[in-house]
């Protein structure tokens, strides 16, 4: 039985620019940063949640041949490479914080739904990020 998601990846055009966005703007923390030749295993994660790492993956050798890397870069900039979904405890507060940090590419301002409040933003390369503040469910009192 699978017990948890350990690592996932988001494809980026530049690891340094990605690091700046995901850590200094979005507020994640650096997980691992290991260099092996041209390959750099660079991950970020939600602070206080070390269980799941997000690999900031730059298309190119040795993992991808140049033609494949070019296709991937095109798809990234077209916003066609999937998305990340995070939770927050204060969507509107985070929205203001992100704006103050210079984030401008919002795809959706905080909006209320039956399941909570969510918002959307893109990273500098075009990847979609959704951030959800789940609606609190009242618990029945127990004796």
């Amino acid at each position: 039985m699978i017990t948890k998601l350990n690592a996932t990846s988001v494809k980026v055009l530049d690891q340094e620019e990605a690091l700046d966005f995901y850590v200094n703007k979005l507020g994640l923390e650096v997980g691992q940063d290991i260099k092996q030749g041209n390959f750099r295993w660079l991950t970020v994660r939600v602070p206080g949640e070390p269980g799941t790492e997000i690999f900031l993956e730059e298309p190119g050798p040795p993992v991808h041949d140049e033609a494949t890397a070019e296709q991937l870069r095109e798809l990234i900039t077209k916003g066609a490479m999937g998305s990340l979904v995070f939770n927050t405890d204060d969507a509107r507060g985070l929205y203001e914080t992100l704006k103050a940090r210079g984030v401008t590419d919002f795809t959706q301002e905080p909006t209320d739904h039956f399941y909570g409040t969510d918002m959307g933003v893109r990273d500098p390369f075009g990847n979609a990020i959704r951030i959800l503040q789940p609606k609190k469910v009242a618990r029945a009192a127990t004796a």
Binding site: R73, T77, T107, H113, F114, D118, R122, L132
Partner: protein
């Protein structure tokens, strides 16, 4: 892919996001082209090359998707929903809706119910493609090239 192409794609995506956000507003082509820092003609040509449809058609599908949501989830009248999502005439809305979805708004409402799914999923999953998409996109391209307004340009010039 050159940095220039990456940058162009990114600017076009930013313009597409602007249409997704402001679909209910009276958008015009020059305003959205300005988001991408392109001239009107270059914007329409580039958008179609990158995303496979004209910006006008993309906005129509976004507006129709939102109207489908409101038809499923609310009791608002078809006329009110037409204006809510950015159309300026009920006739144009109903024609466009039928062309894209394949049935009139009132029939769609009778056959569909509220969907229990996150907003982003509904937005992606229920965005109509339309059986007449290819032909419609071609006509819309011509209309968009002839008009500087997204509003009812297609309906006003279509045969």
């Amino acid at each position: 892919m050159s940095r220039e192409v990456e940058d162009l794609n990114r600017r076009l995506l930013r313009a597409r996001d602007a249409m997704d956000r402001a679909f209910a507003e009276p958008l015009d082509v020059p305003a959205v082209a300005a988001v991408a820092h392109l001239s009107e003609a270059h914007f329409i040509r580039s958008f179609r090359a990158v995303f496979g449809e004209t910006p006008h058609r993309y906005l129509q599908r976004r507006r129709v998707e939102r109207s489908m949501f409101l038809l499923r989830e609310t009791d608002r009248s078809v006329t009110d929903i037409c204006f809510d999502v950015g159309f300026t005439s009920r006739g144009t809305f109903c024609r466009t809706f039928r062309e894209i979805v394949g049935e009139p708004p009132s029939d769609y409402r009778r056959g569909h119910w509220p969907m229990v799914a996150p907003h982003c999923f509904q937005m992606a999953a229920t965005r109509p493609v339309g059986a007449a998409r290819a032909a419609g996109a071609a006509r819309a391209a011509g209309a968009a090239m002839r008009s500087s307004s997204f509003g009812d340009a297609f309906a006003a010039t279509a045969p």
